[in-house]
Assembly symmetry: C2
Homo-oligomer: 327 residues x 2
C-alpha cells in the first residue's frame, strides 16, 4: 500500500530532488542554493563537532528561508549531541548515513523529527520503516563514497514492492531521464550527489571538478573492497596505492586496516581543499562519466526538470499481449 | 542521431525483449518458447563444438518458425567454425559475448549477419558500432555470470548519448517497470536472463530454480573479483570456497588461477544438471531477489508487457521550473 502523501508535501519542497550530503563538501553555500532552487539541500555534518554544526546551520539559514536537512554520520562520536543541536536549531529533517541509527529513534520520535535513513539493503529499509522513518533513501552501489553492494536497478524494485513510506532513489541519478527511470521503479524522489559536485555554489577545488568532468567509465573504482569498507572514488595515485596496501594487508599483514583508513580520511579534504587530485581522494559516483560542465544549482535543477518534463510528453506505444496457451 | 528503425523491425520480432543467453541453460526448449511468445530467444553455444551447435539449431527450428539468435563465446576455440555453421544453417542473428569479436567482423559483414555484441563499457560500444554491429547489448554488472564493473543505471545513459545503433539494456531487468526505466535511459530493447531461469520451459534442475526463488539481496555475490575474472552467482559453499582460494592465491600462491577457474567451469553444469546448489555454481543476476515463482515463457512475457502498458497509462505531472537568476 503506497502512502498517498507526496514527498514534496512531507518535506515542504517544490521538487522531489534531494542533494546528496557529501562530507567536507555540502556546506551552507551548496545547501542553501539547492533549497533556493526548490530541492532539498542537505548539510553534511560529517565528523564535525556539535558547535560547528550549529554554526553551519545558522549560516545556511542566513542564506535561505526554505527547508533543508542535515545529514548525521552514525559513526561520529558526537552524533547524539548533534541531534540535540538540530532540535535546538529547529532543523527537523534528519538524514542518517554510515551506520545503523536505531538507537536514536526514541529521541527522533519524541521530537517529531523527520528521519530519512540512507539504506543499501531490503532488510535495513524494512527495519527503518518499522522504527518510524518517514522515508528511506535507497542507495545503489554506483553512488560515490561509502557504498553497499546492490545496484540501484535491483535495490529499488526490491524495496518499493514491500514498503509504504516513500522511497528516494540514489546512486547513478544525474538527469531527469534517470529520475523518471527511478520513478518507474517505484521511487517517489531522487537524491543526487555527484552532479552537484559541479554546481558553481559547490566550494570544492577547481581541480576536483575538472577531474570529475574528465572522468570516463573506467575511472570509477571501489577501494577498500578487500577489507569490507568499500568507498567509490576516481582512480588516481592514491587509489592505486590503497589497492596495493590492501593486497599487502591480505598477504602478510605488513600494514593494518587502521593505517589504510587513515590514508582515506585525510585524503578527501586534501582533494577538496588543496586540489590534490592525485594523492587526495576524489569521491564521486560512477555517473561522473556522463557529466561535462559546471552550472549553477538552478541551472542543474532546470535541466533535470526539463528532461523530466520531456519524458512525460513522450508517449510509448502499448503492446498487444501474446496469446497464452495457444501453442 | 537515433536510428529510426526499431529493434523489432530489424530483428522481425513482436516485442523488443531478448532472452539472455545462458551457457548450459538456453537450449532449444527455452529459446523456441521465448520466440514463440514474441521475443527473441537466444541459443547459448557456450563451449559446444560446431556440430553440437548445428544440432541444437535444427532442434530449435523444429519447435518454432520465428526468428531466434545464437550467442557465441569468443573464448570458445571453435568460434570461427560455429560462425560457419550459423551461416550454413541460415541463423543470421549473432550475439557475441565474453571477449572481443573484432576479428570476426569481416566474415560477419561479408555474410550480412546481424551482430549484437554484449558490451560492458562505453569504449567497447563505440568500437562495435564502428565495426558494423547492428545493435549492442549494454550489460550492467548486476547481471548474472561474467560481468564488467559498471552498473546498468550508469552504463546506459553513457552509451545511449553517443551511439546511433539501438542499445539493448541488460542487467537488473526483470519487469515491464524496469524495461520502461531502461527506455527512459535511452534503450530500445531489453535483454532478460535471470527471470527466464524460472520459465517452465527452462530445463534446469528444480533445486536451481528454488535457490533463485529463495534468494535475497545479500545472496548475490561476485566471485573471482580478486583475480579479475568476476562472475556473479548466488552465495553457497562453492562461492565461499572460491573466496577462500582467491585469498590464498593472493597471500602465498598456494593455489593457481587455473585451479580456481576449473572449479567454476564444471560447477555450473553441476548445479544445472545435478541440482547441487551447494557445491555447484548457481549463476543468477542480482535481481533474483525479487523473483518469486515459475511461469511459462508466455506468462512471463504477458506479465512484463502488462507492466509496460501500465507505465504508459500512468501520467506523471510536469513541473514548473525554478526561475533562473532571480536571487
Amino acid at each position: 500500500m503506497r502512502n498517498k502523501q507526496t514527498l514534496e508535501s512531507i518535506l515542504k519542497i517544490n521538487y522531489p530532488i534531494l542533494q546528496g550530503a557529501m562530507a567536507n563538501i555540502s556546506d551552507s553555500s551548496l545547501v542553501s542554493a539547492v533549497s533556493e532552487a526548490g530541492g532539498l539541500g542537505i548539510l553534511a555534518s560529517g565528523n564535525m563537532k556539535p558547535e560547528e554544526v550549529r554554526e553551519e546551520i545558522r549560516k545556511t539559514k542566513s542564506k535561505t528561508s526554505y527547508p533543508f536537512g542535515v545529514n548525521i554520520i552514525i559513526s561520529n562520536k558526537f552524533c547524539d549531541q548533534i541531534i540535540d543541536v538540530l532540535h535546538e536549531e529547529k532543523v527537523d529533517i534528519v538524514i542518517t548515513g554510515n551506520g545503523d541509527p536505531g538507537k536514536f529513534f526514541p529521541k527522533f520520535n519524541a521530537w517529531n523529527m523527520k528521519v530519512i535513513p540512507v539504506v543499501s539493503s531490503y532488510m535495513m529499509a524494512k527495519r527503518m520503516e518499522k522504527l518510524g522513518a518517514i522515508a528511506v533513501i535507497a542507495e545503489g552501489m554506483e553512488a560515490g563514497g561509502h557504498i553497499g553492494s546492490i545496484t540501484t536497478m535491483c535495490l529499488l524494485p526490491n524495496i518499493t514492492k514491500d514498503i509504504s513510506i516513500p522511497v528516494i532513489a540514489a546512486g547513478g541519478i544525474a538527469s531527469g531521464y534517470s529520475m523518471m527511470a527511478a520513478f518507474n521503479l517505484g521511487a517517489q524522489g531522487v537524491q543526487i550527489g555527484t552532479r552537484f559536485l559541479l554546481a558553481k555554489e559547490c566550494n570544492i577545488h577547481t581541480n576536483y571538478k575538472k577531474r570529475v568532468i574528465d572522468s570516463n567509465d573506467f575511472d570509477s573504482v571501489v577501494i577498500k573492497n578487500m577489507i569490507n569498507k568499500p568507498i567509490r572514488s576516481l582512480r588516481n595515485k592514491l587509489t592505486n596505492l590503497i589497492g596495493r596496501l590492501e593486497l599487502e594487508y591480505l598477504k602478510n599483514r605488513s600494514t593494518s586496516i587502521e593505517d589504510i583508513d587513515l590514508k582515506t580520511i585525510n585524503a578527501l579534504s586534501n582533494a577538496v581543499k588543496n586540489g590534490d587530485v592525485q594523492n587526495g581522494l576524489v569521491m564521486a559516483g560512477q555517473i561522473s562519466a556522463v557529466l561535462t560542465k559546471e552550472e549553477t544549482c538552478k541551472e542543474i535543477m532546470c535541466s533535470i526538470l526539463n528532461e523530466w518534463n520531456s519524458c512525460t510528453e513522450k508517449t510509448y506505444s502499448k503492446y498487444d499481449l501474446p496469446q497464452v496457451g495457444n501453442t
